[in-house]
């Protein structure tokens, strides 16, 4: 196996008696988009902040290109924080100027403005940007030193669906430039769409790791059939020999073979007018692994 671009080895971070991160280890290959998934408080942000060198680990180590993190490695790393502010009264253009002067090697500002679509609000005070515009600016600042590795900490949290899709497109472009990306998110579809490999975190530990499709294949067989409970015409869901759970007013069956399951439903004279069939998602995986919903 090739040497990881960045690797976390047995990382731990404790605040008093609470372990925010508890023995996390993983490696990210060059050019890979790696996703850290988990609910709020799972330890994702603490993990990547240790990998960014922002907070020191209680124990364990981070190796970047096989070496411990140093001030020098910050020239090769780009970071987009989950919660951050820029200096007041500075326009977008001035923020770009400021940050470009903090690095030895920088990317062309014109290229960055074009990549992150900043041209429409270049002279606007950074405090007066919309959520999507702000995230694009923060991403531009993360890319200003043309980094080899980019950390994106929940880049789409709080954005509307369109802004989120736009940011995904932008992340795809960064990926296509061959940069390594470490992304944290609690949006499963985001991780599924963008990441080559994911690690699911809960309570400070990694509980599953792998390529999204492989993980789903490993843990799930079959499909989900969802039917309104009222369409069962008084029949109890237990009469079908499939595991199920309630989703509001609907019942969702987990079936190994859709064709057989549908035949059985038809035999039982169940209306299929409001039925839907879907494959297992990362959300299901998280539920399966932890017994709780990702957004709880």
């Amino acid at each position: 196996m090739t040497k990881a671009h960045i690797e976390a080895n047995h990382l731990e971070k404790a605040y008093g008696k609470i372990k925010a991160v508890d023995g996390v280890s993983f490696g990210v290959q060059r050019g890979q988009c790696f996703g850290l998934l988990g609910p709020n408080g799972a330890g994702k942000t603490t993990t990547i902040e240790m990998m960014e060198g922002i907070i020191p680990p209680s124990s364990g180590e981070v190796l970047f290109c096989g070496e411990p993190l140093s001030k020098e490695s910050q020239h090769k790393i780009g970071i987009q924080f989950q919660n951050t502010s820029l200096q007041d009264f500075l326009t977008v253009r001035e923020c770009l100027d400021l940050f470009s002067n903090l690095y030895r090697h920088t990317r062309s500002k014109a290229e960055l403005i074009d990549l992150c679509s900043l041209e429409d609000f270049l002279d606007r005070d950074n405090r007066k940007l919309s959520g999507g515009q702000r995230q694009r600016l923060l991403l531009a600042l993360a890319l200003i030193n043309d980094p080899e590795l980019v950390f994106l900490d929940e880049p789409t949290t709080g954005l509307d669906p369109q802004a989120r899709r736009n940011l995904w497109t932008l992340v795809e472009k960064i990926k296509s430039e061959g940069k390594s990306i470490i992304l944290t998110t609690h949006y499963m579809e985001e991780a599924y769409a963008l990441c080559d490999e994911i690690a699911i975190m809960d309570k400070g530990k990694i509980i599953a790791q792998g390529a999204p499709k492989e993980l789903l294949k490993l843990y799930f067989e079959g499909q989900y059939i969802e039917i309104p409970e009222s369409d069962l015409q008084g029949k109890k869901p237990e009469i079908f020999n499939y595991p199920f759970h309630r989703k509001g007013e609907n019942i969702e069956f987990h079936v190994p073979d859709v064709k057989l399951a549908l035949a059985e439903l038809i035999t039982q004279d169940i209306s299929l007018n409001h039925m839907s069939v879907r494959s297992a998602s990362l959300e299901d995986l998280f539920l399966h692994l932890t017994g709780k919903d990702l957004r709880e």
Partner: protein
């Protein structure tokens, strides 16, 4: 250097565009000066003050004059003739009298009280029967606003330094600006140096504007060198900015920082001699006041402005300010945390 200049420029823009803070920093000293200029524009109380010079080597301790027994005149002894003449020039006393080696009196040609005292002393003689000869000195009266100028300039610098650096760094820490800068190759030293330099330059610029404005509108008196005054203000600003860095080194709550800054600024504002002279106050208070950087800044700048003091005369104050600045800078560099 590129990083330093970028951070310096960004901080300057932030300050200059924050019109509220900028206006307050400039208007506050003007308002105080104009307020006091107006409040103390009336005549001083009618007490005649006469300094009696008695040289240490006075030959005849019994030598006196009936003039020195005149009622409703406050006589006090001095052994420093030059200092007494300087006070007369500034109207801090109304007449100076000496009996030895030959009886003589000095009055300020522009002092109405001096004119009246001259009417009284004319024709008087010493107990040895010698008449007084006359000496004239020139000089404008030192008004309260003239005396206050040094204190107000220094106080304005104190507020600008402590709140402009201390509070701002705490706000940066709380809002995540520091964390964002920490993620770049900028060192803590480069970041702090830029903050110090930015505030230092802006303090000097605003002090120059305030001085020029007050000179124009209040016409305060300046007996010393502006260069020396700016040296004192610069050293004082550096000392107070460094003190602010110590406060801001770890605190992440604006409310807590505000409390600490108020605890520091209020005693200095009240007991550093900004508003009133500490002479005659409780000796313990006078000793405590010597710990405050503002006391040394006020005393040194006031000595330059109202007494024309040179660097040699204020050397002690400069040494203390420089020492405190170094101590505060060292402490802040040890204590500082980005988060």
């Amino acid at each position: 250097m590129k990083k330093f200049l970028a951070l310096l420029g960004a901080r300057n823009k932030e300050y200059i565009r924050d019109r509220g803070s900028m206006a307050w920093g400039l208007l506050f000293p003007f308002l105080i000066i104009f307020g006091f200029s107006f409040a103390f524009s009336g005549k001083n109380q009618d007490v005649f003050k006469v300094a009696v010079h008695r040289p240490a080597e006075a030959m005849t301790q019994s030598l006196t004059s009936d003039f020195l027994k005149t009622q409703y005149i406050r006589f006090f002894d001095t052994d420093n003739l030059d200092a007494a003449v300087a006070k007369l020039r500034r109207h801090q006393i109304d007449m100076l009298v000496t009996l030895e080696p030959s009886p003589k009196y000095w009055i300020n040609s522009s002092s109405p009280k001096g004119y009246i005292l001259e009417k009284i002393i004319t024709g008087q003689k010493t107990s040895h029967g010698e008449p007084f000869s006359k000496e004239i000195v020139e000089g404008r009266e030192i008004r309260y606003v003239d005396w206050l100028m040094a204190g107000l300039l220094s106080m304005n610098i104190m507020f600008s330094s402590l709140f402009g650096v201390g509070y701002v760094i705490v706000r940066y820490r709380k809002s995540g600006v520091l964390r964002r800068i920490k993620a770049t190759p900028v060192s803590a030293f480069e970041f702090l140096a830029a903050q110090v330099a930015s505030r230092f330059l802006l303090i000097l610029a605003t002090s120059a504007v305030v001085l020029a404005g007050c000179r124009l509108f209040v016409d305060f008196q300046m007996f010393g060198s502006y260069l020396n005054l700016f040296l004192v203000l610069s050293l004082g600003a550096l000392c107070l900015i460094s003190m602010a860095l110590v406060v801001a080194s770890r605190v992440a709550s604006e409310e807590f920082a505000g409390g600490i800054l108020n605890i520091l600024t209020w005693p200095m504002m009240l007991f550093s001699g900004v508003w009133f002279s500490l002479e005659g106050t409780n000796p313990v208070l006078q000793k405590v006041a010597q710990v405050f950087p503002l006391t040394h800044m006020v005393d040194a700048s006031r000595a330059i402005m109202t007494e024309g003091a040179g660097l040699a005369e204020i050397g002690g104050h400069l040494t203390i300010l420089a020492t405190l600045a170094v101590v505060f800078m060292a402490a802040s560099s040890i204590l500082f945390r980005w988060e």
